[in-house]
Amino acid sequence: MENILTADKIVKQYGDYTALNEVSLTVPKGSIYGLLGPNGAGKTSLIRIINQITMPDSGEVIFDGQKLHPNHVQHIGYLPEERGLYKSMKVGEQCLYLAQMKGMSKADATKQLEYWFDRLEIKGWWNKKIQELSKGMAQKVQFVVCVLHKPKLLIFDEPFSGFDPVNANLIKDEILELKNQGSTIIFSTHRMESVEELCDDIALIHKSNKLIEGKLDDVKRQYRSNTFEVGILSDNVEGLMYDLTQKFRLSQTHFKSLNDELKLNIELGNAKPNELLSILTQRGQVTHFVEKIPSVNDIFIQTVSSN
């Protein structure tokens, strides 16, 4: 698959502090790419470099097959984490101004704005000033500004912060719709459940270095520990436990169920699931048998704390 963006060994230093240490990324076209990392890892520095707000000290960024060029800002939409609008300016005027800065004509921008205002049900806001809107309402306007010029690459930094669940869902659907229309989305967030839900690819940056990158499924496969979550109803718990501890490592677990069964996490090591199953079936009634797939959250915490 083609890549919309490749970053090659990006280095950025602020004085003595290294914000990015030879970070390379590959963002496939048409994907939703999760850019993860703890606070201060260097995500924002990287995003700013992609937006040409700052220049890297070394390394280069290739956008859509070309070396990053000032004209490329017209094809990138950016929703920063620290975002706001001119308070005393009217919504319509403000959107037109920001759209024209992205190279749109006034007529084109007006048409697009009408489409988006209609779509997000904010039609009546054109002549309102931003200071009259609530925070969530202003966020919607910012989202429109970000996507108005039909950018090939969209960069969202914590897009859901400030939205109520209804609107967050609305924005999520819009993001998926944009993906369907062919846009690529870089998505930076601390909300792991939305990464889980939306992202095709992820990269994890920690302490200025990239630690993980790849398809979300591949990363998960890489991090799976061959552990199974098991529920079993057994008359002879002691015998069962004896059998299991001979071969595997066990730990307590919790999951919701209607039975009063024994709940265990069982690390298989090099054994096959069927070996475990055969032991279990001899000793009781299996009610629950699921491979524990590491969540993004687990991977994140595990990687960050082990480095």
Partner: protein, 434 residues
């Protein structure tokens, strides 16, 4: 439309639509006229007449003091000093001048006393001293048997008339007029820089606190944004000044046609007026007009434009950089002081040094230093400045201007993305290297 003109347009419209801008534009001239009228009214009011008691035991001076609008003198030599002192505590008299009886007039000079509750003004005391000294001198002359009339006739009075080497006659008091004209231009530049430089700074801070800056900066270069801001704000400022000028001129026009007041020699001098003036007031006034007319007006106006642009851009780049470095206006104070100092210095040097010695070392040096040259040089121009000095000063100004814009743009670029921290000078310096 290019991005720069888009930014300029937005800044301009944002400024002009601002309510405080509109109010200021139309209220300031009224306020100004109001203050002028108020001051005029105050100065036309007569002060209370103060009663001064004179207790003169020598009998020499009692009739020497002439009543004025402010002070009335009363000869109370017959009354006892103690009683008089009481009347001062009772505020019947403002002050009491005690002149003792002395045989030798020479001893008198140090024995005269003025008693009052509130300390008298210096000019009043020296007026008293003058009157007494005059009388004493006269008495001394008479004692020495000198002919006072002959002495008076022998006193010479000198009035030096001024001329230029080119042979034209020159006028005293013209320096004041020249400094007033140059000063008006210089002052205008200073006011403009302070008012609209601050506006640039506020607008930068606004974008930072609104958090819109990162959205904008992902579409345009910080340098473009900064320049657009400075230009847009200055256009709004020029519009405001033009409106003020128009309102001011119309008020003056109305006032002069209503009250029949002549608006003075500087407003619209035409040959007819000059002629009329000549016949009315004789040669002197015409000479003033001629001198004013012969001032390097073209140079003055052209230099005003050049220094205005150079000075304003230089300073507002500083203002923009400060705005970018801080999070709110209160934090900006420590950085603003070093900027306002040279402006004030320029005005002081203009009014004191340039007036005394327009081509002296201090005046020349400060008309070269770019931070003060827009003000000081404009004040020097009416006195005639060599072309090379003018060009050199402008070259330095614009050289510095480009350097400062580069420097400010760097601080601006880094500063606008820094939130929540008040930087130190050391950190600002570090930003230059980012």
């Amino acid at each position: 439309m290019s991005i720069l003109s888009l930014i300029i347009k937005r800044e301009f419209i944002a400024k002009v639509r601002n309510k405080s801008f509109i109010v200021m534009t139309f209220l300031s001239p009224l306020l100004f006229v109001g203050i002028a009228v108020f001051v005029g009214y105050l100065s036309s009011m007569k002060a209370d007449v103060k009663q001064i008691a004179i207790h003169d035991e020598s009998g020499l001076f009692a009739n020497e003091f002439k009543n004025s609008d402010e002070y009335h003198y009363q000869n109370v030599s017959a009354i006892d000093v103690k009683v008089l002192k009481d009347s001062i505590t009772n505020h019947y008299y403002e002050g009491l001048l005690c002149i003792p009886k002395v045989a030798d007039t020479k001893a008198l000079s140090s024995k005269i006393q003025f008693i009052s509750n509130e300390s008298p003004s210096l000019s009043f005391v020296s007026q008293l001293e003058n009157t007494i000294a005059k009388k004493l001198t006269k008495a001394n002359f008479e004692k020495a048997n000198l002919d006072t009339l002959a002495i008076k006739n022998a006193e010479a009075k000198v009035n030096i008339s001024l001329a230029k080497s080119s042979g034209e006659e020159s006028l005293k008091g013209l320096n004041e007029i020249k400094i007033a004209i140059g000063g008006a231009f210089g002052y205008l530049i200073m006011m403009f820089i302070i008012i609209y430089g601050n506006m640039v700074m506020r607008s930068v801070i606004e974008e930072k606190t609104n958090r819109i800056i990162e959205i904008i900066i992902s579409s345009v270069k910080p340098f473009q944004l900064m320049m657009g801001k400075i230009i847009g704000t200055s256009l709004a400022g020029i519009l405001q000044f033009l409106i003020w000028a128009i309102i001011g001129l119309s008020i003056m026009f109305v006032a002069s046609s209503v009250f029949g007041v002549h608006t003075g020699p500087t407003a619209g001098v035409s040959p007819e007026m000059m002629k009329a003036a000549q016949s009315e007031m004789g040669g002197t006034f015409a000479l003033y007009l001629k001198e004013l007319w012969s001032l390097p007006i073209t140079t003055l106006v052209l230099s005003f434009i050049v220094y205005f642009i150079g000075g304003y851009f230089l300073y507002s780049s500083f203002y923009a950089a400060i705005g970018a470095a801080v999070d709110n206006e209160t934090d900006s104070q420590q950085f603003l002081l070093p900027i306002i100092m040279p402006l004030i210095l320029g005005v002081y040097i203009g009014f004191f040094t340039v007036m005394n010695d327009p081509h002296g070392t201090i005046a020349t040096v400060f008309s070269m230093i770019p931070l003060t040259s827009p003000i000081v040089m404009l004040m020097r121009i009416p006195f005639g400045v060599p072309v090379w000095q003018l060009l050199l000063s402008m070259a330095i100004l614009f050289g510095t201007f480009f350097f400062v814009v580069w420097f400010a743009a760097k601080i601006y670029r880094v500063g606008i993305l820094m939130y929540g921290k008040k930087p130190t000078y050391k950190e600002l310096f570090k930003w230059l290297k980012y």
